[in-house]
Each structure stands twice: as C-alpha cells, then as structure tokens.
Amino acid sequence: MADSGNAPKPSSSVKLVLLGEAAVGKSSLVLRFVNNDFQENKEPTIGAAFLTQKCNLPTRTIKFEIWDTAGQERFASLAPMYYRNAQAALVVYDLTKPTSLIKAKHWVAELQRQASPGIVIALVGNKLDLTNDGAGSGGEGEGAGADGEGDARKVTTEEAKTYAEEEGLLFFETSAKTGYNVTEVFTAIANAIPETSLKTARGTGASHAAARSEEQRVNLNGARDPNAKEGCAC
C-alpha cells in the first residue's frame, strides 16, 4: 500500500504514538503495518522505537512517524516526550486481558488531558486471533497453540465500543498475527486527521514551529537533506 508514493499527491507527515500496557501487541501492530511481518514471542520493547511508514489515501499521502513505546510501568514517565505534539495516538489493549483495557482508559484520559487538543485517538483491541471471532474472520487458526478450542476473549466488543463512542475515539479490533484490520486502523487514522492540521512534508519543520521546538531546532541544522531524500526514496 505504500508503493506508489511517486504520485504528485500532497504528502504530509503525521506523528503517531502507540501507548498501552506491556505485552498487548503494540510493536507487533507496528511491525505488521510497517514490514507486514509477525514474530511469535517478540521480546519486549526497551524504551521506544521510531519507525516510519507511508499510507496512501486517494487525495494525499500520509507519512506516519511512529513512536512505538515500551509498555512497562517504569517507562511511563517518559511517555509525555513521545505524545507531545503527536497528531495521532493508538491506544492498544489486549482483548484477552481486562486489566489492559483499564490501563488503556488511563492512557486515553492522560492524552485528553495533556496531549495536543486535536489529537486523533484510536482504541485498538488486539489479539483477535485468540478469540472465536478471530478464527472466523481472518485467522488461519494455526497458531491457536495455547488454547485451541476455547474463546479467550475477556473484553466484549460492546464494552470497548461503548467506551470509545463516549470518548469520541476510533475503535478497532485487530490481530497483528493474522494482519486482520491492521492497515484499516492506520488508514482510518490518516483519514481522521483534519486536513487543516496537515502541511506538506517539506514544510514539516515550520508547520509546527510553535510546538515542535526540539525538532525544529534539529531541522534548522540541516534537515533539508534527509527530507529531500525521503521525497525521492518513495
């Protein structure tokens, strides 16, 4: 989906942050989105990882700059660094683990309190492949290793969906393992970003001048080079 970036469509970059409890599958979602890959038993992220991926919409290209943060409690104090100035956030929970939804709600609240006012938040319930829905909808079912027959779902779609609607969040249930709904999440986010908050990629540095003091300073030091390159590389 990110192959035909050479079209003269306007291109903009969007800073996106992933938040959520440890081991809900944040990195796996990103890995599926960026590399279309999945790793069983992926080791925990340490600190945060920065990745980029383009998303083609009919009218424009969105270049996601993704901050995939570590979910462990001890990294929580660093989170503001990553969601500051983010235009989008993916708050992820594990469909098979009710406490992870509670944690997700905390993140949503923190984002609404402290992140940029216009931030687009998507609530994502991951590991759909472990539920009966997953087996039906898109899962190959081969990886049901843990408990093949039973439905491991512990958080109902209604519960999460109701909450998402109350808070005005996008809502998806995904499986990073099967790939089900993963690109849809990112595409929906890309669509939900208000046109007005987008500037072309080459103007990124200036567009958020007020807020992005750190990045801007960096860009002033000569970011023209990498940006230009990114333009051609796609």
Partner: protein, 664 residues
C-alpha cells in the same frame, strides 16, 4: 564458610615442574613500593608447601619468566618494559632450579626481563628458543611415543564420537522447560540444567531464575534464601559451597542475593563476576538510587514488576556465560580488525558529524567494536559495553522491532546514579542502500525469522559473501532463536545525557551513514566482518611457522581488548557437537584463566595437558595469551605457536585493537 576453594592457593608440582615464586607486582611504573620486611630465605623446602591437588589436570607449569623481549621477523626487537631502571639482575636460575631471592627482592617487578632471571640460558634468545631449548628435553621413550601417535589430533575429537563427558546433555541446556508436564517432570528437567542463575531479595522474594518459572522453583528459592540469610545473621556471609558436582556461589549486593549454580567447572571468582554482570544489568535498568529507594521503603517489594521486560536481557547475559563468553572471561572487548588508516578515517568521519549532545558514539559490527568516539575526560568501561552489546546483539528486543530505538539506560560503571539515552540504529545488511531510512529495512527483520544457528560468535563460513544466500540453513534439532547473519549486522550507537536529543542524534546518524556510505567505509566494514576472525592459517603463513595450535585468545591488557582466532574449521561441526566443542574449549580457557589468576600461584606460564587437549597460558604485564591444541602436541610446539601469536599480535596491534579511539 571458606570463601576460597583450596585450589586457589595451591599448586601441584610434577617432577619437571617448578613454580617460581615471584611477587606479582602491578606493572605500573609508579614509584617503588615501600620496602618489605625481610623475607624468609626460601630454599629447597619450597615444594611441600604447594602440593595439594591442582584443578583437574596435571600441569607442567614452567615458571616465572617474565618475557619482555621478543624478536620480530624483521629482525627488530621489541621490549615490553615499563621501567628499565627497576631492572635488577637476580641470580634466579632457570625453571629447574630453586628460586632464590636476592636481598632486594621487594624491588622485583613484572617488568624484569627474562634475561635478568635466567643468566644461565642463552642470553639473547627469545622465549621460543629458551623454552624449547632447555625445558623440552624429552626422554627417548617420549619421543618414540610421539612418533607413533598420529600426526595431528584435534582437541575434543571424541565429541564427534558422541562422547561429551561431563557435558552430556549440554545441548538441552537452553531448551525451555515446557509448561504442560507434571511438576515432577518439570523439576527433574530443571535439575538437569547445568547452570542456574537466581536472583532473590533478602526478604526472600524471588526475582529471577534462568530456568523454570518461579512458581515451580519457589521452594528451592526459599531454601537458598534461608541458607544465605542464616549466614548473614551470623555476620559471616556465605560466599559459596559445593554440593555434589555443583558449585554454588553467592553474591550479596545490598538487598539482593545473586546465586550461581554451576556444574561447568568455573572458578568462584569467574562465577562471581558473572553474578556481578547480572547485578549491573539490574542497575542498568533501575539505577542504584532507585533500587535502594524501592527497598528502603518496602523491603518486601516484588522487584519483578519494576524489572518487567528485562528478563530476556538477564537471560541472554546468563546464556552467554553458560555458552562461554571470552569477552566476559577476560573482561575485555573484541574489535573488528581493520587497517589503522581505515579505522582512523572512520573515526574522523564519525568525529566530523558529531552532534553537540553526543557523549559516546560507537560503531559496532557483529558484536565487534569498529570505532569509538568519546570525550577526552571519559572512557567507556568494558562492563558497560558488555551490557550494551548484550542488549543489542544477544537479546532480540532491539533488532526485532526494526526502526530506530531510543533507550534510557544506566551505565553503572560510568555513573550508577542516573540514566543516559541511547540511540540505536541497525544498517540494513542486505542492500547497500543506506540512504533508505533504517525503518524500512524489510530484509533484516525477515532474516530474523529464520531459526538458524544459535552461536552468535560464529563467523561466517569461509569467505562466502552471504551465508544465507549460498547455504541453506543447517539442519539442526532445537536451536535457540537467533538471527543467522549477526556477524554482519552493523549498528550505530549514539549515547547522550539529554533525553530530548533523539532527533539531533538521528540527524547525526543520517549524516554519518551517508558519509560512510559515500566514502565506501560501510562496505569496508562489511567485508571486514565477512572475513570473520583471524584464522590460524593466516597467522602462520610460512611453512617453518606451521603450527599445531587450534585456537587462541589474546588479551591486550592496556587496551582491555582481546582477539581470538576463528572457530573455523575446528569448532564448526554439526550441532550439537559444535556447541559442545565450543563449550569445552571455553571450559579449558576458564580453567587456564582460573589457574593462572589463582590468588597465590604467581604463575606466568602454564602448560597443561589433558585427555583431549593441551593448553598453554602465558601472562605478562602487556598481554594474556591462552591457546589450545590437540592432546599430543608437544610443549615445544605450543610455545613456538604462542610465541608466533604474540609476535603477530604485536605487529598487528593497531589493526586488532582500538587504541584510544576518536577523542573530542
């Protein structure tokens, strides 16, 4: 409980063996130490004092020759001395004679040359001729026996025949204990592991165990805690004990107990330094003040929560010790061999692109250091680098995610009170296109999903350009997960004290990467990686230098770096033999290291012959050399080989080691 094993201060003597006592002074050229009290004049009654059993094998240790002069092939002579003014001739005779101390004994330092000790030997010979000439007088029977034996027997040959001796079952060491068995079977599996590491709090809360989940072994942990705290209560801390064939070593750090249980024959101090590394890993996650705070406020805290997610780091560290890590053994780093001028240019490119916020910058390829830049005032401590290398190359967390990482970590040897921030980016090792941002390196992450050979230190086969492309993954029963092409992975690591400096460092990386790419250094580094470690055959080129050495480790003490020869072809058989052979090799090195560093041994050269290998350790203030050959290789041949390796290392010093690095 006695902290030392008996062997730590005793050395056996053979008929033709004599240990010469000599103070192991530090090689520093600092002012002479204050005069020692008069010594007892040691005479012929020396040996009875030192006659208890030695580690495991008979040794033919030769003595305290302080080799400081070497001749090089070009005819020049290099002298490793620190202070020639201190060289005082002493009438100490050759290794056969009883050492007799001069009255000025206290002034002896390690810097004394061999000549000064051995006036009776050929005055200007180098070590090889010395040792070969005088100490290698073999009986005719021995010579006959040797001529009967096959010409070349490689060490550990019987592993190939399926005999792994005490390492029986080592290939299952890293297999996880399955959850779906009964507790009895799981416990039996747990008991069958040869090495365990456990961490628990002094209040008895389990924190970490390498094998088995904590619920399974809770009672064992409880026993361990009870034993340790009993001795703590007696104000007589428990340091170690032996039960059956397992050695238990305990390290207490504040509120934490670390326990190593090993049946692999390491010495107490080696096990203790492994435990210290685990402690450093915990500090690296939490910092010392945080760790203290946690336990000051609530001594019964479950530390597993704050450490969540670092189990894999602890485990990969533990496994590298279990497999046998030369780096951990020697407390030294391995560098990528490069021409001096090339390394210099890479340093310069690195320095030129330096971001203001940078504290340390490293280029690392396949776990070997390529280039370092650092502030003049600070150097990097090997134990800190060990933690970083473990995180990046041994445990999969960073690489697997793809993209660039921004990692808060504490480098305890640098400053255990605060965090630094580490930017890490891996180069795509398939294409040369480093103008792609690293986040789009598809091929790398794909290559990781192969489950090919588990040995990270394993160099590529032969001179093949890409092992994956040309060889199908080797068939093997149960490899621990590990990417195949680790040898080629190039990472840029940029460390800053400013947590907001990610984009500054990212920009530095981008500029650095494109300069390195443009000037061809990246492909240079890649091809240096692909060549792998130096092969014995390339060091011993001419026929008269032909050697029977199979493998060696050479540590440059001043640079705190080491070089080892390629494990090809002798240690590259099929699994699991390969892994066992490697462990055997490392066990030999551990024993050599333990013996030669034993507290009161004062050994300089140690030759040891065992059933399946012969080995030699040689220590001077400048270097430590350990080498291994087949069991029937003569001492003369080994010393010749050792000598040649030392000459080679001296000549290639600036290629093998990073001397100083780029300083700003």
């Amino acid at each position: 409980m006695a902290p030392n094993k008996a062997e730590a201060d005793t050395i056996s003597t053979n008929n033709d063996t004599l240990i010469v006592a000599k103070t192991r002074a530090t090689p520093s050229p600092s002012p002479p130490p204050p005069p020692l009290p008069p010594r007892r004049n040691i005479s012929g009654d020396w040996s009875p004092k030192i006659s208890a059993g030695f580690q495991s094998k008979p040794t033919t240790a030769l003595s305290s020759i302080d080799i400081s002069t070497l001749s090089f092939p070009d005819g020049t002579r290099g002298t490793f001395t620190t202070d020639s003014a201190k060289r005082i001739g002493s009438p100490l005779a050759s290794g056969y004679a009883t050492p007799r101390r001069a009255s000025v004994a206290g002034d002896h330092t390690d810097s004394m040359s061999i000549m000064s000790f051995t006036p009776t030997l050929r005055p200007h010979g180098d070590l090889a001729s010395l040792v070969a000439g005088s100490l290698n007088k073999k009986s005719r029977a021995w010579k006959l026996l040797r001529s009967q034996s096959e010409t070349v027997i490689q060490p550990f040959e019987n592993i190939g025949l399926g005999i792994s001796g005490e390492l029986e079952g080592f290939e299952r060491e890293f297999v996880e204990i399955p959850d779906d068995l009964t507790d009895d079977i799981r416990l039996a599996l747990w008991h069958s592991k040869m090495k365990h590491f456990m961490i628990l709090s002094s209040a008895g809360k389990p924190i970490y165990s390498r094998h088995g989940d904590l619920s399974l072994i809770n009672s064992s942990m409880g026993v361990v805690q009870t034993i340790i705290s009993f001795y703590e209560g007696q104000k007589d801390p428990l340091l170690g004990f032996t039960a059956g064939d397992a050695r238990f070593v305990v390290l207490t750090e504040g509120p934490l107990y670390f326990v190593a249980i090993s049946r692999l024959g390491e010495s107490d101090s080696q096990l203790r330094s492994q435990l210290e590394a685990l402690y450093m890993q915990i500090l690296s996650t939490l910092t010392l003040p945080t760790l203290k705070n946690i336990f000051v406020h609530r001594p019964s805290t479950d530390l597993r929560k704050p450490l969540e997610g670092t189990e894999s780091l602890l485990s990969s560290l533990a496994d590298s010790f279990t497999k046998g890590s030369p780096s951990a053994l020697l407390g030294a780093l391995e560098c990528l061999k490069l021409r001096k001028s090339q390394r210099h240019s890479i340093n310069n490119v690195f320095l030129k692109n330096r971001a203001d916020k940078l504290l340390y910058g490293l280029i690392v390829a396949g776990g070997k250091l390529v280039s370092v830049i650092r502030p003049r005032k600070h150097s990097l401590h090997p134990s800190d680098l060990q933690l970083i290398f473990n995180m990046l190359f041994e445990s999969g967390g960073i690489k697997a995610g793809g993209g660039e990482s921004w990692i808060p970590l504490c480098l305890p040897a640098f400053n255990n009170r605060g965090y630094l921030y580490m930017y890490v980016s891996f180069f795509d090792n398939k294409s040369d296109g480093d103008d792609n941002p690293p986040s789009t390196t598809h091929s790398r992450s794909k290559s990781q999903s192969y489950s090919t050979p588990p040995i990270p230190e394993e160099p590529l086969e032969g001179e093949e350009v890409s092992s994956e492309a040309s060889h199908p993954p080797q068939p093997q029963p149960s490899p621990p997960p590990s990417p195949p092409s680790e040898e080629e992975e190039i990472a840029i690591i940029l460390i800053s004290a400013d947590k907001e400096s990610f984009f500054a460092l990212k920009e530095m990386r981008d500029k650095l990467a494109s300069s390195l790419q443009k000037q061809g250094y990246l492909s240079l580094i890649r091809s240096a990686c692909q060549q792998g470690r130096p092969k014995i055959s390339t060091i011993f080129t001419s026929p008269q230098q032909e050697t029977q050495l199979t493998h060696f480790l050479y540590k440059s003490r001043a640079n705190v770096q080491f070089v080892m020869s390629s494990l090809e072809p002798f240690f590259s058989g099929p699994e699991p033999e390969k892994q066992i052979a490697k462990r055997k090799l490392m066990s030999v090195y551990h024993q050599l290291h333990a013996s030669i560093h034993a507290k009161h041994s004062h050994l300089k050269v140690l030759h040891s012959v065992g059933e399946d290998s012969a080995s030699l350790a040689w220590i001077t203030p400048v270097f430590e050399l350990y080498c291994v050959a087949g069991p029937n290789v003569s001492r003369a041949a080994m010393t010749m080989g050792a000598n040649r390796v030392v000459q080679w290392a001296k000549k290639e010093e600036e290629r093998l080691f990073i001397i100083g690095g780029g300083v700003f």
